[in-house]
């Protein structure tokens, strides 16, 4: 790669006064020596000055009247809409304001996912209901006769009973551990990346991480802890998505 190839991508930033001193000095030094790059820079400066100097375009006098007429027409059309369409419009506007404007394929995909989820839940509920009859039914007690013997046919498979209960009890702990693994992996990546960040960005990042770790410690166990861990993962992902670490300083609060 020649010096010209390195300098030319930086010309725009240099001309706009956005290069740090040391980089600006390198560009200036090259421009003194290289007539081709100098001419390119002069052309770009002339172009930029020419663009800045373009005369403002005045809107036509009738524009305001046209806007008022369109507003009036839309309001009349709104008033004539059936009630359900006005409500649908409000919902769509709300979704758009929430930066979510579903397209037809997205709606179809959401419907498929919803149907699948309902199907799965129903199936699982039925299955656990069946299991519940077998597993947790208390033995019948006959007063005065002692506990009735449990017929062997209705006895739950002991292994299944034990496994499911243990699994359910272990689930939150497994989730906590899995979140913790993700956090540690992201932290390793952040440590590598942070060498390229400014000292200020690094300090802000470290302060935020300390705060997030405190929040995890304060949250205790279970769901609150998962939420705190999830916040930290989100922050780390967002910070890592930036090449310059700027967001680490200010974003993803």
């Amino acid at each position: 790669m020649t010096m010209c190839d390195k300098i030319r991508p930086r010309l725009t930033a240099y001309l706009d006064g956005e290069l740090a001193d040391e980089h600006g000095s390198v560009v200036r030094g090259h421009l003194r020596e290289c007539p081709a790059c100098r001419e390119m820079a002069r052309d770009e400066a002339a172009l930029r000055d020419g663009l800045r100097a373009l005369a403002p375009v005045d809107p036509p006098a009738a524009l305001w009247a046209g806007i008022l007429a369109r507003l009036a027409a839309e309001e009349v059309a709104d008033a004539r809409k059936p009630r359900w369409r006005r409500h649908a419009g409000r919902w769509l506007r709300w979704l758009r304001a929430a930066r979510f404007a579903p397209t037809m394929p997205q709606l179809a995909a959401a419907a498929v996912v919803a149907v699948a989820a309902i199907g799965l839940l129903t199936w699982r509920t039925h299955r656990s209901d069946d299991a519940g009859h077998v597993v947790v039914a208390p033995p019948l007690v006959h007063p005065g006769h002692g506990p009735a013997p449990v017929p062997p046919a209705t006895q739950a498979p002991a292994a299944l009973h034990g496994d499911v209960t243990e699994e359910l009890l272990a689930e939150p702990a497994q989730t906590t551990a899995s979140y913790a693994r993700v956090i540690e992996e992201l932290m390793k990546l952040a440590e590598q990346d942070s060498t390229g960040w400014s000292a200020e960005a690094r300090a802000a990042f470290n302060a935020r991480i300390t705060g997030l770790r405190d929040a995890i410690a304060r949250a205790g166990q279970g769901h609150p802890s998962h939420l705190a861990q999830s916040s930290m993962i989100h922050y780390l992902q967002t910070a890592l998505a930036r090449e310059d670490g700027l967001l680490a300083a200010g974003g993803a609060q």
Partner: protein, 204 residues
Amino acid sequence: MTDLAEPAPAALAEPRTRVSATLTDDAHLIAACRRGEARAMEMLYHQYKRRVFGMAHRIVGGSDAEEVAQEVFVRVFRGLAAFRGDSALSTWIYRLTVNAALSHLARRGRRHEVGDEGLTELPAPAVIERDSALAARIETALTQLPAGYRAILVLHDVEGLSHEECAAILECRIGTCKSQLHKARARMRELLGPGLDERSSPKP
């Protein structure tokens, strides 16, 4: 003209934002417009009409600019009730303007049975009149640019918005905005040909 062998003058590094409305002014204006006060609506229109129309004019061209500007202001007045103030009012209005202009171009492209992507790939006319004034040549070259490049050049260079504002309007990262500006200017230089600076132009 900038002497490029000398250190960049301070003027280059100065912020060039021309927006002066304060948040408080905007908040009052928005509240009055939401109440449907005609005077406030007209005030908001006058505050933003030049920039909105100017951006629309340079992105979609003179013949459709009025239609796009009308659409933008109608969306602004009808959307103010849902405006949450996540960004400055000006940023929101300019975002609506750029989006309306780009959507208009896409619709126009479909009507002409040529997609927007197709339009961007059309070769530029080989000769842009060299003897016309620089401003006229720049205006002509702007019309040959892909719409996205045109938008960033209009926002940053013509309207003088900062990279931060451009990134907020275009909903992209500041780095993306800078690289798009660099590419857009390079494309403009290609369209206009060398010797833009009078000092380096060949003498007739």
